[in-house]
């Protein structure tokens, strides 16, 4: 599914030529790859540039899989320039690496049950990081691929100081079917849910998804991804619709919308016990689509209280509601579907442009500065990746509704799904191998 990274032919020719002419200094640096972990020899990462990176070929059965997963993950991080060369035997040749524009080189070796990884600093001509990563037994299984994604995320942390997002998954709706896909577009699988499901939302641990069902019996449900069982958090009552659930920042509660005959308000219900739901917002209008600030103290949501949908922020107990998107885009006033960034600084949302289509925007909570991130097709329902830099959203740009991933820094986009129709994406927190993180591993809820 994902596109291959291709290098111009002349670069590959140069690589082959240099590789032939330069003696391979394999032995001279072999001892570096066993440098004790935690010893860093000073790679400085400049966020404004994309350092060139080479992932050396990995020998052994499934070595090619390891290399292509690492290479693609590092490419999808949008923080590196991938230099795909074929060095015979994965030899370390700093002069060659330097000439090819590489600043870092990843040298991975498959061992029994683990992957040994050494990160080379080309300028310093030495190993800056080294570690062993356990791998599940069954190569190329989903669990194994997720473990390799975790390696890529750690390599990214070594270089940039920030962990990557390869070891994450995205929940979405294919019509009324709930599915989960890996961040690289692989491992797409259905999750059994009640009929007429919508709006999946992760718990902060990445072990459960909340969702709503629509129709004459509308509920808020939670499916445990370990047991695949669903249970009702808010039961159906006649003449009411329950919708847009989201876990609180600490995972202990669910906030959702309850639409009745005198408007739609936000309610909070504890996950663990059978305590009754508590009403948070009080307005005669519709209040939907809540999203928590990372510290759990605020909730942003969509409200029609001014006559059309706009985004508001209130305290988590429902007090002090305040209009956030108080700007005018001409005659189209429709802004909705906010998602709070994991660093707390931005809200992503969808905004209708004068031509009637919707576009993905972000607004800074510091100075309310806004940015439009899309222009092709109609683009809706943004959800932040745990890195606070990438967004997944629904776009019609390919002709059907599909999920796309945007790097908000560079503007680079890639298509994530090729389903019959995909929408309502929710990017998971960081996970451990197997696709389900142990309880308490992450600290953020996403929708």
């Amino acid at each position: 599914m994902p596109s291959e990274v291709r290098l111009p032919t002349h670069v590959l020719l140069v690589a082959a030529l240099v590789a032939t002419l330069t003696p391979i200094a394999r032995n001279a640096h072999a001892q570096d790859t066993t440098r004790p972990r935690g010893v860093v020899i000073g790679l400085t990462y400049d966020p404004s540039s994309k350092p060139g990176i080479i992932v050396l070929p990995v020998s052994g059965a499934f070595g090619d899989s390891v290399r292509s997963i690492l290479q693609r993950d590092l490419d999808y991080s949008d923080r590196f320039g991938i230099i795909p060369i074929e060095v015979p035997g994965g030899a370390i040749n700093y002069a060659l690496f330097s000439r090819l524009g590489a600043r870092v080189v990843v040298q991975a070796t498959l061992a029994q049950g683990s992957l040994h990884v050494a990160l080379h600093n080309v300028e310093k001509q030495g190993v800056s990081n080294v570690d062993d990563f356990p791998l599940p037994e069954r190569a190329n299984s989903h669990e194994w691929r997720m473990a390799v994604h975790g390696v890529a995320d750690e390599i990214e942390r070594w270089i940039t100081g920030q962990k990557g997002i390869a070891q994450t998954r995205i929940a979405y709706m294919d019509g009324s079917r709930l599915r989960i896909v890996d961040s690289d577009g692989e491992g797409d699988e259905p999750v059994p849910v009640a009929a007429n499901a919508l709006s999946p939302a992760w718990n902060p641990a990445g072990t459960m998804l909340a969702y709503s069902t629509w129709g004459t019996t509308s509920r808020i449900m939670v499916v445990d991804l370990r047991t695949r069982r669903s249970r009702a958090m808010a039961n159906a009552t006649p003449s009411n619709t329950n919708l847009s659930p989201v876990f609180s920042a600490d995972g202990s509660s669910i906030v959702y919308s309850h639409a009745g005959e005198s408007g739609t308000d936000l309610y909070l219900v504890p996950v663990a016990d059978d305590a009754p739901a508590r009403r948070l917002s009080v307005s005669q209008a519709d209040n939907v689509g809540p999203t928590f600030s990372p510290d759990g103290r605020k909730i942003a949501f969509t409200s029609g209280r001014s006559g059309h949908p706009e985004i508001y922020i209130m305290d988590a107990d429902g007090t002090n509601p305040d209009l956030l998107t108080s700007f005018d885009f001409g005659d189209k006033n429709y802004r909705s579907d906010p998602d709070w960034s994991p660093d707390g600084r931005l809200l992503a949302f969808q905004s209708q442009s004068p031509d009637g289509r919707f576009q993905i925007m972000t607004i800074s909570l510091r100075d309310r500065g806004t940015k439009v991130h899309t222009s092709e097709g109609s683009n809706e329902q943004p959800s932040w990746a745990p890195d606070g830099r990438h967004l997944v959203f629904t776009s019609t740009r390919s002709g059907t509704r599909q999920l796309w991933v945007l790097d908000t820094d560079s503007g680079r986009m890639r298509q994530l799904t090729r389903a019959s129709s995909a929408s309502l994406a929710a990017w998971s927190p960081r996970m451990h191998a197997g696709g389900v993180a142990p309880s308490g591993a992450a600290t953020r809820s996403k929708r």
């Binding site: 009324s176 007429n196 919508l198 709006s199 709503s212 629509w214 129709g215 004459t216 509308s218 006649p238 003449s239 009411n240 619709t241 919708l243 847009s244 919308s257 639409a259 009745g260 005959e261 005198s262 408007g263 739609t264 519709d286 209040n287 939907v288 689509g289 969509t302 029609g304 059309h308 949908p309 429709y334 909705s336 579907d337 969808q350 209708q352 009637g356 919707f358 809706e380 329902q381 929408s423 309502l424």
Partner: protein, 173 residues
């Protein structure tokens, strides 16, 4: 000289003719009755269909609005006397939206559209307990297109008879 008249034969003939005429009249009456009955049945079925169509007639809305337009009010006005004449009838109003805008906000909007129609009916005397509301949001379009004509058809309230609709009584004029 006129021949002697066989008066018995004449009487018989007259009686036969009269019987035949009576039979014919009776058959005609029976035919008329059966046609009338068929017509009444047809009219009754047509009246039932008319009542049913009026009760389930769809109303439409403007984009992102739940206010009842004039055409919607007039459609609802013709439901009121039927609901009043048939107190055993229960209905469900399901609000729908077009595909544009927020999927989640559209669920709330659909609920609001259903509630608006319910309020109009209850304000005119229909018992609230007879009307259930629901929202289908943008999930069940009747028109598949992506233009204003499709959107206009999809922004609607649907009315379903959920109880007591076996035989409807016509409202007194």
């Amino acid at each position: 000289v006129p021949q002697a008249i066989d008066s018995t034969a004449i009487k018989d003939s007259i009686a036969r003719a009269e019987r035949e005429r009576a039979d014919a009249l009776r058959r005609q009456r029976e035919r008329d009755d059966s046609i009338a009955a068929a017509n009444r049945a047809r009219d009754a079925a047509a009246e039932q269909a008319r009542l049913r169509d009026a009760l389930t007639a769809v109303i439409h809305f403007d984009f992102d609005q739940s206010d009842l337009r004039d055409d919607a009010r007039s459609t609802l006005d013709s439901k009121v006397p039927i609901l009043m004449a048939n107190p055993e009838v229960a209905i469900r109003i399901a609000g729908h939206t077009d595909e544009r805008g927020s999927t989640e906000y559209n669920l709330a909007l659909g609920q609001r559209r259903a509630a608006a129609a319910k309020r109009y009916l209850t304000d005119r005397g229909v018992q609230a307990g007879r009307i259930e509301t629901a929202s289908m949001g943008e999930q069940q379009p009747v028109a598949d297109g992506h233009d204003e004509s499709a959107w206009a058809s999809n922004r609607r309230d649907e009315f379903e008879i959920t109880g007591g609709g076996g035989r409807l009584t016509s409202p007194r004029m």
